[in-house]
Symmetry: D2
Subunit: 304 residues, 4 copies
């Protein structure tokens, strides 16, 4: 079946779910988003793009930015990053301090908040102008120039960010943060605030379906081996303590954010980005996960 | 490169590791095994088999049997099994009671001991003659007739099985065991005691690389969708609290046992079974994981 | 004010609370008890006794028996018992497995179930005829001959005792149980099933207010130092994870049971036993704790 | 026996222990203290004082200040403080975040760091000039004018205080801190830095042995009921996760600090302050606890 037709079908089928999720409400900007929205974009290695719904509407990518920062650090530092973060699924919610304490300040993986804060600290040491260089890197991946931070969202996150401040202080008490608490939190809230639409998301992550080569520029972002490993990590840890269920239902490497976005990688073929702001109890897009499950079912595509 | 050549190379390269692992020592039968052994078998959908090392030597498959029991229950009961066990990675060692208590007697997944005990309880309700029917099922999968329980190992496990008895009692206190404690433990220790060699293992799991169809008989063991899901589950939960690392390094669905065996699935292509009794700190075969990582590196095969 | 008058006042004041608690319902015998009952007895070192309410009505003392068994083991083995159990408050519910796992099979204290099971195991090694000798010991303390086990309650506890079986198996997996699981559970459920009334309870524990000397027989049950220590332990650990609150409100060494009984010690003066079957959320007698708080407030008696 | 004689004996008997403890080393000021020091002071309700060793030497009282701040808040706010902190022993180390997360930002008791930070936050709301008024309050209790903060210690604590910053941020994320993180940490590190000698400590806490009446001024600091309750709290929670053992061995309400000081209350009679900088594994003064145990053994004094 044609991909565009499939996207149309999916849009119809998930409509009843849009009102069932709950929009993230810990900051006013996210709480104000209309839950009745849905977008889905597919970018293929053949240079085709398929879109449905509000695919030009930018939303807050939130934790999906943790893949960009991880890629940036992995590309620069290689396997050295694993000295400061594990790569095991966490089994506890994304912002938990419990496991961090049991494991002496080494986060379980780079996708839970604690791990992403450690990666952010690495970027502060790697980059001279962290914010500028990071956003340039993301624009390059997407072949765009207009992707940017939403400073209002970043400011609001900071004002409500006591849990992340707790994590950063705790990590520093275990000598796993080298820059100042303020600098780490500032860059962290910035990259979480990035606004993108599903089409940009799908395109920017296409290199992960292409052995690490950006198909737009033919440049290697990661080595083939690093790419495989990053995809494996997204599969096992990309959706917090719902990672097992996501792998079971969708069967693809993916990463979600509380803004309602999810990116999924189909190695060797394409990427799929989906957005719907209503979240399930685990903090992942309710309609988004369903849309991805329908996509793999209808196309028969899976890594397994 | 030819698969047989690759197996030869791997055998050479893992030799130095054989003495570095530690043989499981909680029962005398396992403790007595010579660590200086290695076997590897590849079974392909083209009906080819490649072997190296002690591939005719039978060993105790231990937790690898949990995949057979899960398949048997999944095939008979479908998604009903998920009412009694989760499918999330556990983040704690395989025999931990902590998470079980926090989650009110619902095991995190069917591959940790608690989950496998619940699945075993299901088989007691499904089968009339559980032991006979289960071993028949496994023989059928492998196209063999001589695969059986090692009653001495089973007896010894039982004598040292207080932790598993604790888990079963705890599950029953949460009404997640319906048969008697004794019957559950008896069947559980029996299926963990099954003796097989790597060739038998590789062949018996080939249907998981074949969309659920046993290539020997052309019968469907699981539906294509169930097969995908089982593979996803093995990837996220198959190697205890080392699952993330296994996915990262090997990138394949797999399941390990403390006897030193590991089975890995390459969907659409083949299965790889490996055995070496020396374990790493997480309880998985030290040389076995290395051999699988080398296999994916040398062949370039990966699901990602 | 006269003690008898105070007891009358307390009886009046706690009446409205009798219906607010919730009777233990995990076994039919306890679930069938009428919650609308209250009894209180005071025994003094001057050989006086004061009673109010249903003080001749026998009830299931449950965990209060753990003090008898601890005393028996402490008297025979001295400080050796602390090699197998700690003496710290637990911070988790009385039948939790979590802390036990974290601390490698050494229970936090002898009053949580795990600790009491270890003490019970000690008695099996100390006594030739554990049940007979233990019940004789308790009768001697109370100056009675008719205190006995309630075999029906014991049998029912056993049938629903999977959590305690889990704990015992777990302890044995850590080599902290030396007799058979069955023998430990049998004696444990027996001593928890003992039936007594408040007058018998108050008298039997009077030696703890008397430096260890049984005032009825002038025999030393414990040394003065052991007695002090046992009282300290009851204060810090006697009411599960409500011990801090009990110390705060009542300020006396005490031990509660899910049958609704509580014994409290006023060193150098007297003992107070209270019974009311309705429990609060922490599993302690709701009216019983209130009655003890009123008693210390009205008499001005406290150890602090 | 005469108290002065007893103190002499104790000094002799604990000498061999002085080198066995380990001085707190997380800030340079504490790490630099000579472990070979010992002081003990007894203040009685008869207005007598007995001293031994370095009893005029001021040391950092650290967590002992948490009793002053709790008293100040309790005196002003009464039982309202228990809406924001529990009063149960913690079962985990003093600066753990685990239990705090499990209990949604309500600390187990006011003596663990999290609880003391909440109490500090209350003082910021109660006092106009928190530092001045708090130090005046403490000087009044001790009948002194020269007790003050050690600003160098406070500054150093702050520089290494990431764990406490983590706790405060975490508490604020649960809406259990109302003032700014900076203000709470500033006052907290200040009051922990207070320098006192054992004689001052013993005198300042004498009102807790006197039903809440300061014997120097005859003023009521706390009501008799509040006093009893505070003593109960010190007994159950005053020495972190060693509280049970302290109650068992010493049998008195007490509070320790990582500077090596301990204060103990003997209700109706006296207070005992002891100091020796070498700590045991639980963070309490090794020789100090032994000295208190010897004191209760030799005098036969106990609350039990």
């Amino acid at each position: 079946m044609n991909i565009q037709t499939i996207l149309h079908q999916i849009e119809e089928e998930v409509k009843p779910l849009l009102q069932q999720g709950k929009v993230a409400d810990y900051i006013p900007m996210l709480a104000a988003v209309d839950p009745n929205q849905f977008a889905m974009s597919v970018a293929t290695l053949n240079n085709e793009t398929y879109n449905i719904g509000n695919y030009t509407k930018k939303f807050s990518i939130q934790s999906i930015s943790k893949v960009y920062t991880l890629i940036a650090a992995f590309a620069k530092m290689g396997d050295k990053i694993w000295e400061r973060t594990g790569r095991e699924p966490s089994g506890t919610p994304f912002n938990s301090l419990v496991q961090l304490e049991r494991e002496n300040g080494i986060p379980r993986n780079p996708f839970i908040n604690a791990g992403a804060l450690v990666i952010t600290d690495m970027l502060l040491s790697i980059y001279k102008n962290p914010k500028t260089e990071l956003i340039e890197f993301i624009n390059q991946l997407a072949g765009k120039e207009n992707i940017g931070f939403d400073t209002e969202v970043a400011k609001s996150e900071k004002e409500h960010g006591f849990r992340n401040a707790a994590l950063t202080n705790f990590l520093k008490s275990h000598n796993n943060i080298f820059n100042s608490i303020e600098a780490v939190l500032d860059l962290y809230f910035c990259h979480c605030s990035i606004s993108m639409n599903t089409e940009e998301l799908a395109k920017s992550y296409l290199f992960l379906a292409n052995g690490g080569i950006n198909p737009l520029t033919n440049e290697a972002v990661l080595t083939p081996s690093q790419t495989k490993r990053l995809n494996a990590l997204m599969l096992t840890c990309g959706t917090y303590d719902e990672a097992g269920d996501f792998a079971f239902r969708v069967g693809l490497p993916g990463k979600s954010g509380v803004g309602g976005g999810i990116i999924a990688i189909i190695p060797g073929k394409m990427t799929v980005a989906v957005w719907s702001p209503g979240l399930n109890k685990k903090g992942n897009s309710l309609a988004g996960i369903q849309a991805l499950e329908l996509f793999t079912t209808k196309t028969g595509i899976s890594v397994f």
